[in-house]
Point group: C2
Chain length 316, copies 2
């Protein structure tokens, strides 16, 4: 949530000389994106986001992300397309970092989605899945069950400081998922991280889907399970909102019907998605000093979701 | 250089309901301003900066800053005027902080000013001084000689870790300034911190003067000495650029001639301005952990300027 690499206006002006986008008029470092540096810039022609990749994104993955957003943009989804420079290159370099000039999308992210927002986001996720069906590239989900096991091993023995029940819960859930995780569901390119801060709205209409840096090939229904985890609970996980959940599922199925196998496995997928964020947040919590400027996200917010999914089913 | 208070779009929407500025379309936290939180926001009518004051600015001083920018804006200086809400109030509250909605000014800040930039900034500072002459409010400069003594006492004994010569240099300069600091020069409202990052350009034309949170009543020529310190040296203080300096002084005097007394005292004012930044940077350096996310600014960059002013005179 900060600008890690400080670029001067002169640096950005020189970078833009390789593009046909006009002359720089404004550049503001924006506190957005967890681990990249982002500038909102304006030329005499248009506005753009200029992203510098700070190491958490593997530069080898950038072509996948950019081809995917180009593919989706072609199919009229409101995703930010990367802008090629005069030589056609999308990934360039600025201040020693891989850097991309990206289409700017207006809109605001909601913190407390209404059911109307949830209907919209459910529908757009299904549109994304249909539009991605003929996308030819693939990328392994590096936050999936085998990776959760590795992450669990890494944090093992250090979770008691957060909550003594956390370690046993992680182990029990991993054992359960090992025997129940589905192997054959409709799959393709998914966003995998479509939290409210990655969706821009104009009113209740979606004006942008952003931050595709976790996009990968996995089950469509898993992407929907991530959405359920991130849109239909209070941020701290204490409250489940049935009206938001119904609206979200109804929005999704208004565009793409879940198959019987997807419905059957949906509870397991929801638990897996909750565990994914329990594990990454636990890992980050342990590895971020309490005094660091970056805000640590509470792993227990997703422990509460996981426990909810252990006791309840989503109506499909 | 970060957003300290996270406001949701809903918080900002609710805040804007008290203003006649239209409906929120975009809100981005921007990494700007040393100790405030700033959002660049856009409504269907216009763009604005939304500033939340985080404690380093005394809320009692806000009326001075806002009246001054209103006064200067009235006289056609490109300064950001604060926007009153429907009840006429300029300082309101958002997320538990005093907050102001401020006019957005486009433009970019240069890191390596050319002589043409320096001519422009010299001229605009003189315009600011002329325009401020009939501004009726006053505010004591709380970064002036008596405050430097207090700051020097605070850092005393802790400067060796930065440079063993730093402590003696501070003491010697303070003694020298005690007997040479002028008491009667033309004075009025000054900006007091017009570094390159507080000036926005469109080409070499000035499109904005921002960040008036050090503005105060003091000698006009001291404001010019701050400008000399911040525009005509390399950032690290190793290099003095005579062409920038000549252009800056010529730009200033094209609008307002320095008096003989201002010229006579200018060397002392330049040393004082250098010491002011040596002291605040030394204090911040000692009080900012090296691991903190905030970038510490090197006090030695201004020690080098101070030493330059000890050996050289500015041609006036």
């Amino acid at each position: 949530m900060a600008v890690y690499t400080q670029c001067s206006a002169e640096d950005i002006e020189a970078f833009l000389e390789d593009f046909n986008v006009g002359k720089l008029r404004m550049a503001k470092g924006i506190a957005e994106g967890v681990q990249n540096s982002n500038y909102l810039i304006e030329t005499d022609q248009n506005r753009f986001i200029l992203t510098l990749y700070e190491g958490s994104v593997n530069p080898d993955d950038l072509p996948y992300f950019h081809e995917l957003t180009a593919h989706l943009a072609n199919k009229k989804l409101v995703v930010p397309a990367a802008i090629p420079n005069k030589s056609g290159a999308v990934v360039n370099e600025l201040c020693g970092r891989p850097a991309c000039l990206i289409q700017f999308l207006s809109g605001i992210s909601v913190s407390e989605p209404t059911p109307a927002h949830c209907t919209s986001v459910g529908a757009v996720l299904a549109q994304l899945h249909l539009a991605a069906a003929d996308f030819p590239m693939t990328r392994r989900n590096d936050h999936s069950l085998p990776d959760w096991r590795l992450l669990a091993a890494k944090v093992s023995g250090q979770t008691d400081a957060i909550d003594p029940a956390l370690g046993p819960l992680i182990e029990a859930t991993l054992s359960q998922l090992a025997t129940s995780w589905p192997t054959d569901l409709p799959c393709g390119a998914i966003h995998a991280d479509l939290f409210p801060d990655n969706v821009l709205f104009s009113g209740t209409n979606i004006s942008g889907l952003i931050d595709f840096y976790f996009a990968c090939s996995d089950f469509y229904a898993y992407d929907l399970a991530v959405l359920i985890n991130s849109w239909v609970f209070s941020a701290d996980g204490h409250q489940f909102f049935a009206d938001r959940c119904d609206a979200l599922i109804q929005g999704y199925q208004s565009v793409r019907n879940l198959t019987p196998m997807e419905k059957k496995n949906f509870g397991v997928l929801c638990k897996g998605a909750a565990l994914r964020f329990v594990l990454t947040r636990t890992h980050d919590w342990i590895n971020t000093p309490a005094t660091a400027f970056v805000t640590r996200k509470d792993p227990l917010a997703f422990v509460r979701r996981l426990r909810w999914f252990q006791k309840n089913d989503i109506a499909l």
